[in-house]
């Protein structure tokens, strides 16, 4: 077990391109840190640098305060689970699990004991003499885990280990990995592009984009207090609703002026302290789907048009359109692009039509019309405001 520190770590290729820039991140002893981000954000490169499989070109990587930049992968005492498991196809399960121990010259008796223990922990005892091709996806995943836990490494590295499994098995393995990590207490760096995995597994999450760390913190902290538009749009499913508006402070309190009208937030609206600095400026407004409601309660409301209702007991999702500009900042577009190219097309289409899509998450038994106009109510205290120019949150 070890405390891992990325101290200004960067990866610059010969052609000058940066895969990772100035990464400053500390993973405490025994902590489960998940690095998440869209494809090409540098998360796997960061993990490979920690493993010693990718040379570090800038900064320092420290294990328990000692720089390991120059140490080869075999000397770092880390264990890694690969995306496709990388099980040696010509070896049995037992030989696969024993390989790291045999490579370190451990005595045969000790190896046999440890392999048996690891197999028992992972429920693999009856499969020890099988080859990987005779195993199911979940069993292969367990063998990969077995190879990692068998030798008590200082650090677990996991590179999207669940991405090859179907949804049901992924949920099961997610719980098993969390349990295993807690039992073993080994510092873990886990890379994924699945934000559900990140939210449910990590003690803390680090979000990367374009090789740059955007924000690191506890899952709930990132969800409730995103540092910028990228984090806001990336974390959460369905994603945070975003639309553009001009923020103005009037005698009757702050208002948001959209292309569809003026939204009075009320004199007592608890906006962030620095919101006043953005008086008469364009901001991006963010609202989580669960912070929208129907009915005649207190607080301002948005005039929306219902287009689709999805029932997912115990909740339902209302897909609506409002008349407000869609933010087309590079951060929002980057998140959309990670979903699918068509998502970027939808964004552009909304921007041209001067409308924004809003999703509301309501209890499944909430009565709603089949389609047509409705008012979406919200508490101004739940608003997230971002600077439209640089996408940073307004605190």
């Amino acid at each position: 077990m070890a405390k891992i520190q990325f101290d200004g770590v960067g990866k610059r290729y010969d052609n000058g391109a940066h895969a990772v820039r100035d990464l400053n991140l500390t993973i405490e002893d025994g902590e489960f840190m998940v690095v998440v981000g869209p494809s090409g954000c540098g998360k796997s490169t960061a993990l490979r640098m920690a493993a010693g499989l990718e040379p570090i070109t800038e900064g320092r990587l420290l294990f328990d305060g000692h720089e390991v930049n120059a140490l080869s992968a075999r000397d770092r005492d880390v264990a890694m689970v690969f995306q496709n498991y990388a099980l040696y196809p010509h070896m049995t399960v037992s030989e696969n699990i024993a390989f790291p121990l045999a490579s370190r010259g451990m005595a045969k008796d000790e190896i046999a004991q440890r392999v048996a223990r690891a197999a028992e922990t992972l429920g693999l005892t009856e499969y020890l003499s099988r080859r990987p091709k005779a195993l199911s996806g979940g069993q292969r995943q367990r063998v990969a885990m077995g190879r990692a836990i068998v030798r008590d490494p200082r650090l677990f590295l996991m590179d999207e280990p669940l991405s090859n499994l179907d949804a049901k098995l992924r949920n099961q393995m997610r719980a098993e990995i969390i349990g295993l990590q807690k039992t073993q207490g080994v510092t873990t760096l886990y890379v994924t592009h699945d934000q559900t995995e990140a939210m449910t597994m990590g003690d803390r999450i680090a979000i990367m984009r374009g090789g740059v760390l955007q924000q690191a913190g506890a899952p709930r902290d990132l969800y409730d207090h995103p540092a910028n538009l990228f984090v806001a749009a990336f974390i959460g499913s369905p994603a945070m609703n975003l639309f553009q508006a001009d923020l103005r402070f009037t005698d009757s309190g702050p208002v948001l002026v959209t292309s569809g009208g003026t939204l009075e937030l009320g004199p007592g609206a608890a906006l962030p302290a620095r919101a006043r600095d953005h008086d008469n400026r364009t901001v991006v407004v963010g609202l989580r789907p669960e912070h929208l409601s129907l009915g005649d309660g207190p607080g301002p409301s948005l005039a929306a048009t219902l287009t689709l209702t999805e029932e997912l007991p115990p909740e339902k999702l209302l897909h609506t359109l409002i008349t407000a500009e869609t933010p087309m900042t590079d951060q929002v577009v980057a998140v959309a692009a990670d979903v699918d190219a068509s998502a970027v097309g939808d964004l552009a289409q909304d921007a041209r039509a001067h409308r924004s899509r809003l999703v509301a998450r309501l209890p499944v038994d909430t009565p709603v019309p089949a389609s047509g106009p409705l008012d979406l109510r919200f508490d101004p205290a739940r608003l997230h405001l971002f600077d439209a120019r640089d996408g940073q949150v307004i605190r």
Binding site: L53, A73, V78, A86, Y88, F99, R147
Partner: protein, 276 residues
């Protein structure tokens, strides 16, 4: 749709007749090897009046003091030695070349590919001269060294193509697991190369076992002479004892046939298999 049994039998008979065509050379080989010397040219295709099994005994005694059994052992030593040497050198070299993305790796690759194209017959005279000086003419080691040099380019070509298709994950996993470069190659990479190793072994084995030209030049008159050279001993300047030549050839193909029948399944798997 039900198939007519007559059509099926017809097809089977057709296939059998076609297969029999391949047996004709073997038939010819067998009957000539059992003919008396006088009958070979009088009635080359006909069945012999009497079967001369003594031809085999005479052929087995060999020529120039080397029996056919000894020649077969020599061929086996040279073939196995060359195959092992080519597999070892070719696989390691190809691994280094294929995993070296730099310019030097590409240059080395083309250097070896050029070795496939160049006709080795051109270099026989200087090779003979050089190898005689260092005592590598007329012995097994010399021939093994020679064939290793001749066949390594082809094996590097085959191995490097295969290594490039192997995911780097296996090596990286082994490296993180604490294995040295040597152990990674020995325990992880080389076993994964089994299909192409089979191809290289069969290819090199066939070439070395059947080659005549180089073995004649480098082994002629020595006690290390191999089967092709020993068989050639029955062909004199003014006369050739073809019945003995054919008997010796029949004996010489027996080990190859036996090996093929024994390892048929593994060989076919080797040619068609991949990483599963």
């Amino acid at each position: 749709m039900t198939r007519s049994p007559f059509a099926m039998y017809g097809r089977e008979l057709g296939a059998l007749a076609l297969a029999l065509l391949w047996c004709v050379p073997f038939y010819y080989l067998a009957i000539v090897s059992l003919k008396p010397t006088t009958e070979i040219f009088a009635d080359p295709v006909g069945f012999p009046d009497r079967l001369e099994f003594a031809n085999y005994a005479e052929a087995w005694a060999g020529t120039m003091g080397v029996s056919l059994g000894k020649a077969m052992l020599n061929s086996l030593i040279v073939t196995v030695g060359s195959v092992l040497s080519v597999i070892l050198i070719g696989s390691v070299t190809a691994y280094v070349i294929a995993r070296n993305g730099r310019r030097m790796g590409t240059l080395m690759y083309f250097f070896f590919v050029a070795g496939i194209i160049l006709p080795h017959q051109l270099s026989v005279v200087p090779l003979y001269s050089a190898m005689r000086q260092i005592g590598l003419v007329g012995n097994h080691l010399g021939l093994i060294v020679l064939y290793s040099g001749l066949m390594t380019p082809m094996s590097v070509f085959l191995y490097s193509g295969f290594v490039r298709t192997l995911p780097a994950d296996y090596e990286e996993a082994a490296e993180v697991d604490g294995a040295s470069r040597g152990r990674i190659f020995r325990m992880v990479i080389f076993p994964l190369l089994a299909p192409v190793t089979g191809t290289v072994a069969v290819m090199v084995g066939m070439v070395v076992w059947n080659d005549f030209f180089i073995q004649l030049i480098f082994l002629s008159g020595s006690p290390a002479q191999t089967l092709p050279v020993a068989i050639y001993g029955f062909v004199g300047e003014f006369s050739a004892r073809w019945n003995l030549v054919f008997a010796a050839v029949f004996v010489s193909i027996a080990p190859i046939l036996a090996f093929y029948l024994f390892a048929q399944r593994q060989l076919i798997q080797g040619f068609t298999g991949g990483i599963k």
